[in-house]
Subunit: 199 residues, 2 copies
């Protein structure tokens, strides 16, 4: 569709932004115009940031978290407890858990969840790689998303790990702290009730 600008370079830039997740045509136009309003130096820095991040960042050889080195900053940290692995779907989940400052083990990033609907099977994830690093592991915490896919993935992985004598746990379900009980859905409330603890 022509946007009526008659400017190939502008329409190309709008197209590029529009391909981003969650960005519609209006946002894409606003962002493209913002780029045009930038100083020359700023635009260069923006383009450089894209290339630089894309070139420098790849997956850690142990846990498949993102890193600019061969191994990620968590795997390289001697102080981290290498006997506990927290399994997550996405590098963003690693960052979310790191922000709690409560976990001192290591991670394993699956880069997705099993989803037959989207054609994602166990082989598309780093499950084999997880099984290859189980030596000396005492506990694996499944921290996949609380969705159907995340649950299925957690079940699948735990069935592979348990025969190896590894303790497999998962994050507690319950009501989110600070939220209003009134707005919690039935399943969450049921899980919170089931998982109640003595005070």
């Amino acid at each position: 569709m022509s946007l009526g600008y008659n400017l190939a370079s502008l329409e190309e830039l709008i197209n590029q932004f529009q391909r981003m997740p969650g960005i519609g045509i209006k946002s894409a136009q606003r962002m493209a115009f913002y780029v045009l309003s930038m100083e020359e130096e700023e635009a260069k820095k923006f383009a450089e940031a894209i290339l630089s991040a894309h070139t420098k960042i790849h997956q850690c050889k142990t846990c498949y978290n993102l890193t600019e080195n061969e191994y990620c900053v968590i795997c390289r940290n001697e102080a981290r407890n290498k006997e506990i692995i927290c399994v997550v779907e996405d590098p963003r989940d690693v960052a979310a858990i790191e922000r709690t400052h409560e976990f001192d083990g290591t991670y394993h990033v699956l880069h997705g969840a099993i989803s037959p609907m989207s054609g994602i099977g166990p082989d598309q994830l780093t499950i084999k790689e997880l099984l290859n690093r189980t030596e000396g592991i005492k506990e694996v915490i499944m921290a996949t998303n609380p969705t159907v896919e995340g649950e299925a993935t957690a079940m699948y992985v735990s069935r592979l790990l348990k025969p190896l004598g590894i303790k497999v746990t998962r994050l507690a379900y319950g009501v989110p702290v600070g939220a209003d009980l009134e707005y919690a859905d039935e399943v969450t409330l049921t899980r919170a009730m089931e998982g109640r603890t003595e005070i």
Copy 2:
């Protein structure tokens, strides 16, 4: 604020996206991760699109619309009626009017509206440049936004043009086509009533 990624290049890219208008930290992260998931070639094309649009696009010497040439495609078009100028705030407004295919005159882009609150006076806009191109002009259509600032700008410009014997008009106010009358605000409804036409 650290996002917990421990990756300078990723955090820089997220920062760059977050500076865009209407983009919060969550969207910025999603976009940065999308860039990481791109193919090498795609990332290069994206960075190139930013530099290319930024380098190639500048303002038309006559109407201050955006162009990749010295004069914009509308000013260069011999078929356009050079005796009518439609004054808009933004190049996006030119594109919006062009999409109607109903206007065959030329434009003048003010690049903003008078807004004392934001410290934008007449001198920051291309009003002087508009006055310099009034020779042979029969009508100026004020198509600034229907906001306080847009209205004030339209009034200001029309007071400068009328003494020169130029007919100054403005876009009709009224109910938007396809909208529900019930949801129209009082001011719009009043204007639509005042501007009613015989059928």
